[in-house]
């Protein structure tokens, strides 16, 4: 198993607020580590609206979700903070005065403070609420492709109309026996080029396309054997297959956070407004996931929360040191931490 990583603060969530927390911790001289369930940095800004303009960041009249993330990354660059992506914190345990947090990939952190900057929860694949689809999960039904080789010579049904569905249809058609692509309407959200590649594969009979159809059931014994689809006009068809891939995008789930004994109301974590600590000492919640009277789900509010929580994290990490309030314009320590030359 991997070694414990000891750090001053563990930040859960690599969205704008998590990234700015790294900055606020960093200028106080605290080391942090970041964990995020997505495969990229930026949280909702990068996943949901990378190209949409944001107009309410103080001092930035307009920026896109992605450019905000890029700028924040530049701002925290001096701290060289490790980012642990593609994993979420599964469990949390109090060890004396510290917290031991374990990720889904088995990485363990030991830290006095944890900032939960989890936004609206972790992004998880959207799964059809159909009993038999859930039953055959990992027995033929998948939502991602860690290893495409297992699809060699298989008959696959792919659901979806976006980039993931179309990219994988094109890619897997090179090795699969046959692919059925099922989408609920005629139009595809994927880039035009991939759509035309797919249409070419349909002409070559490598892919069978069912538009105006949706998944309604799955059938099998030990393993999945077929899926049922229903067309707009009510016709049901059964497609024999070895595997089903569902690309219906991502949704947000609080997930294991629900089980940590935190005060939670309407999918948000209750905190105080002095330092944004939760009901558990050393566990803080900042950004969209935090809830307190008057809370606004704005990025700027999250930045404020990060700054105040960092002050308390300092006291927990260095209980014997005095924390003096300093301005970044003139403080030598801050300049040194930012790697500025005199």
């Amino acid at each position: 198993m991997t070694d414990h990583i000891k750090t001053d603060c563990l930040v859960i969530g690599a969205g704008p607020v998590g990234l700015f927390a790294v900055f606020e911790l960093g200028i106080l001289g605290l080391k942090s580590e970041v964990v995020d369930n997505l495969d990229k940095i930026g949280g909702q800004c990068a996943e949901l609206y990378p190209d949409k303009p944001i107009y309410d960041i103080p001092g930035l009249p307009s920026c896109t979700g992605q450019s905000l993330v890029d700028n924040l990354l530049k701002q925290i660059e001096p701290f060289k903070t490790p980012m642990h992506l593609n994993q979420r914190i599964e469990s949390l345990k109090k060890v004396e005065e510290k917290w031991e947090a374990t990720t889904s990939l088995g990485q363990i952190f030991l830290t006095p403070s944890i900032f939960i900057a989890g936004g609206v929860g972790s992004f998880e694949p959207r799964k059809p609420p159909i009993e038999n689809i859930i039953k055959f999960e990992n027995k033929g039904v998948s939502y991602a492709i860690p290893n495409k080789e297992i699809y060699k010579d298989k008959t696959i049904v792919i659901f979806g109309g976006g980039d993931s569905a179309l990219d994988w249809t094109v890619e897997l058609s090179k090795i699969a026996k046959h692919i059925y692509l099922v989408h609920r309407r005629e139009d595809f959200r994927a880039v035009e080029h991939t759509v035309s590649l797919m249409q070419q594969l349909v002409k070559e009979n490598k892919v069978t396309l069912y538009t105006n159809n949706q998944v309604i059931d799955a059938n099998g014994d030990e393993c999945l054997r077929s899926v049922s689809i229903k067309s707009k006009d009510g016709k049901i068809e059964i497609l024999d297959c070895d595997d089903v891939l569902i690309f219906h995008g991502l949704k947000n789930e609080l997930g294991p956070i629900n089980d940590w004994g935190l005060g939670i109301s309407e999918k948000q974590i209750l905190v105080n407004t002095e330092n944004f600590q939760t009901n558990l000492d050393g566990i803080f919640a900042i950004g969209d996931i935090a809830s307190y009277p008057g809370k606004l789900k704005l990025i700027l509010s999250g930045f404020h929360e990060a700054a105040l929580a960092a002050q308390q994290a300092f006291k927990r990490a260095k209980p014997d040191e005095n924390l003096l309030f300093r301005y970044s314009t003139s403080d030598k320590d801050i300049h040194e931490r930012l790697g500025l030359k005199k």
């Binding site: 979806g160 609920r184 949706q214 707009k232 949704k251």
Partner: protein, 106 residues
């Protein structure tokens, strides 16, 4: 202002008085109508405020934009009268609108 009737999948009805300018989703969630989750809070980014518009009303409601149609790909049991309730803003014309709530949101 319009009184809008929400019918749950079980048949339970809720008549909600929604002020002009709010979306149907906001009216429903503020009044805790079950079955409208609205995870993303109205950003047209999640498809968990999916409703079916009563047939008589479809033409009286402004048409879907592309972003809503795209997002409906992620809803469960989408039909021709499917809409995302966060994309419909209430005005006086909607007085008496009837929407059905699907059995499940994704």
């Amino acid at each position: 202002m319009a009184i809008i009737k929400f019918i749950e999948h079980s048949g339970t009805e809720h008549e909600i008085d929604i002020p002009n300018g709010l979306t149907i989703m906001e009216g429903a969630t503020k009044n805790k109508v079950p079955g409208i989750d609205a995870d993303c809070g109205g950003a047209c980014a999640c498809a968990t405020c999916h409703v079916y518009i009563n047939e008589k009303w479809i033409e009286k409601i402004p048409q879907k934009e592309d972003s809503e149609e795209d997002m409906l790909d992620f809803a469960f049991e989408v039909k021709d009268n499917s809409r995302l309730s966060c994309q419909i803003t209430v005005n006086d014309e909607l007085e008496g609108l009837v929407v059905n709530i699907p059995e499940k949101q994704f």
